[in-house]
């Protein structure tokens, strides 16, 4: 039996659960009041971002602290290109912009991959942080990019679909598409190789895993998907500036959600994003003055109490009686 067939067979339950989740989430807009629909949209966007991050950070163990570089690059590529082309209808414009965003991120990450992936651990983390900072400053200070002034994006209208429902659906489709990609990667030979390189890169390399090629592939894939999300996010905002898409908190949230849910797993980022979005938007929304304090406290508690994430916590509990 091939690796693929076996992977699909072994995870039948998860696949069924994902399909069910998709159906439930797809019908949710009819029932949710507008505010919760916004929270839901934010959740879908965050979960999709975290999944893209985990392709590199969770699978290969290369923690990028600057993935917002690709959100921003994607958003500005889409905005600038669409502004120059003036395509009609706006749906076509969105599609072209999103494709261009993914392409731009593929190019940049392809150029960066070889040198930057030679760095490991915190050095890689901080180099990515620096990449994001450089891109953000260039976007703000090069007049042609209009990062400081801001750009208005064409408004996408579908007959019969309200604006907020439209982006909810878009992010829902993107989330499950990325989930499918991540699942395919995880059960393939590539996924096995990535996990082995996460556990011990030198040993994996010695055993013949093409570590260099694998991690470059993941870096580029992760960047391209993040860029795609960035382009759609830019449309959902309608108007972007450097500050609204190059945000360090986006970079960190991706990590936090994966860590909270369980790093290296596929369900982890989704669980983490759901929990944190609800907590920060619904519960802490009332407490703006100490919002940052509570987020920080939550972060500290989370790392101390559940180093392997919620999924890890549950798995450990399940294992205890068996052992």
């Amino acid at each position: 039996m091939s690796l693929w067939q076996e992977g699909i067979r072994r995870h039948r339950g998860w696949i069924a659960a994902s399909l069910l989740g998709f159906v439930v989430l797809a019908f949710a807009p009819a029932l949710l009041p507008p505010f919760y629909l916004r929270v839901g949209t934010l959740f879908l966007f965050s979960a999709a971002l975290s999944l893209s991050w985990t392709l590199l950070g969770g699978f290969a163990g290369y923690w990028s602290f600057g993935h917002t570089a690709f959100v921003g690059l994607g958003a500005f590529t889409a905005a600038l290109l669409e502004g120059a082309l003036h395509l009609h209808p706006a749906t076509l414009s969105l599609a072209v912009g999103a494709a261009a965003a993914a392409l731009a991120c593929t190019l940049l990450s392809g150029l960066l991959a070889w040198p930057i992936l030679r760095l490991r651990g915190i050095y890689f983390a901080v180099a990515m942080l620096a990449v994001a900072q450089v891109l953000a400053e260039l976007t703000s200070n090069v007049d042609a990019i209009k990062g400081a002034l801001g750009i208005v994006l064409p408004r996408v209208v579908l007959p019969g679909v309200a604006q907020h429902v439209l982006y909810y659906r878009l992010f829902l489709v993107l989330l499950f598409a990325i989930l499918a990609i991540a699942f395919a990667v995880r059960i393939s030979r590539l996924g096995q190789g990535l996990v082995s390189l996460r556990e011990d890169e030198d040993t994996a390399r010695m055993l013949g895993v093409p570590t260099e090629r694998y991690k470059i592939a993941m870096f580029v894939l992760s960047a391209a998907l993040t860029g795609l999300l960035g382009a759609v996010y830019a449309h959902s905002l309608g108007y972007i500036t450097t500050e609204s898409v190059y945000r360090t908190d986006i970079s960190l949230d991706m990590i936090v959600y994966c860590l909270l849910g369980g790093i290296g797993t596929l369900i982890g980022p989704i669980v983490g994003a759901a929990l944190m979005t609800v907590v920060t938007q619904v519960v802490l929304g009332q407490l703006l003055g100490i919002h940052m304090f509570l987020t920080g406290a939550l972060l500290v508690l989370l790392v101390l109490a559940a180093p392997a994430g919620l999924v890890g916590l549950l798995a450990r509990r399940r294992q205890v009686p068996a052992a």
Binding site: A130, L299, V303
Partner: protein, 291 residues
């Protein structure tokens, strides 16, 4: 002449960067922890000095002494009460997130206590300056530079001559061996955090004198510290000094030659280039031999 003035300005700022970064470098060198709350510790120092100046009129340069003492205590407890658990229970990367969470909390507290506005410390001599061979030098800045050098020298002496300095270096080199020799490693780690916080606090007090500051600057000072350490090398005051001065010069020249908006972009470009070419920094890791 303009070039000389740029160099002078760069060196003055560079001295401050070096002092602000040396504590970060020490923690990184001794326990490999990347302390993302370092920038907040610098700011706490600045706010403490501001408070002392406003409340009892204590000169910021004299305030360095109580600020350092208070920050030492803070750093010691911070390590014993929080960082220790993070390092023991999770990975070093996860401990980075813990320090980031702590930074968010502390920054929020600073906003609540001191408001999010910019503050500055301006004693009577704040605007005095000397003209020396055509260069204009603010007295405050010269004093800040001199004091930074003095404090760095003091730290170098502590590390190289005193018993506690030897113990710290031994722990950094080989934790297990140090433990076997009867060193209380936990105490040493907490001490290192204390010393680091004390120097961050001192730099904060001096920075308050030279530049306006606000709670949202913490990320800037943390990044600065990281760049300084990457440029100069981990763990030693000398490495911090080289990195700090270099960063100051890069910033001053980028602002003059390319444009005032670009020093940060330049700084990060240099950082990435440096990580790729020589990740151990110009002076290398002071304590660990690299293969």
């Amino acid at each position: 002449m303009l070039t000389l003035q740029t160099i002078a300005d760069g060196l003055v700022l560079g001295g401050l960067y070096a002092l602000a970064a040396v504590g970060f470098s020490l923690i990184f060198g001794v326990m490999s922890v990347v302390n993302l709350s370092h920038g907040v510790m610098v700011l706490i120092g600045a706010y403490l000095a501001w408070l002392l100046w406003h409340a009892i009129g204590l000169d910021p340069l004299l305030a360095i002494v109580p600020v350092m003492a208070a920050m030492f205590g803070f750093g010691y407890l911070y390590q014993r009460g929080l960082i220790r658990f993070a390092v023991e229970r999770a990975s070093l990367l996860a401990s980075m997130l813990v320090t980031f969470g702590a930074a968010l909390m502390l920054r929020n507290l600073l906003v609540l206590v001191f408001s999010p506005d910019f503050k500055s410390i301006a004693p009577s001599y704040a605007f005095a300056h000397v003209r020396l061979a055509g260069l204009t030098l603010d007295l405050v800045r010269v004093a800040a530079l001199a004091l930074s050098m003095l404090l760095l020298l003091a730290l170098a002496l502590i590390l190289n001559v005193t018993r506690i300095g030897r113990v710290m270096r031994a722990t950094a080199q080989e934790e297990v061996a140090a433990r076997l020799c009867g060193i209380d490693v936990r105490h040493v780690y907490a001490l290192t955090f204390g010393v680091s916080a004390a120097f961050a606090g001192a730099s904060g007090a001096i920075i308050g004198l030279v530049l306006p500051f606000s709670p949202s600057d913490d990320g800037l000072w943390t990044m600065n510290a990281f760049v300084v350490v990457t440029l100069g090398g981990v763990g030693s005051p000398a490495g911090a000094l080289v990195g700090g001065l270099l960063l100051g010069l890069i910033g001053a020249f980028a602002a003059r030659l390319i444009g005032p908006a670009f020093p940060n972009a330049m700084m990060f470009l240099v950082l990435v280039a440096m990580l790729l070419i020589r990740p151990a920094g110009l002076l290398g890791n002071a304590w660990r031999a690299r293969a």
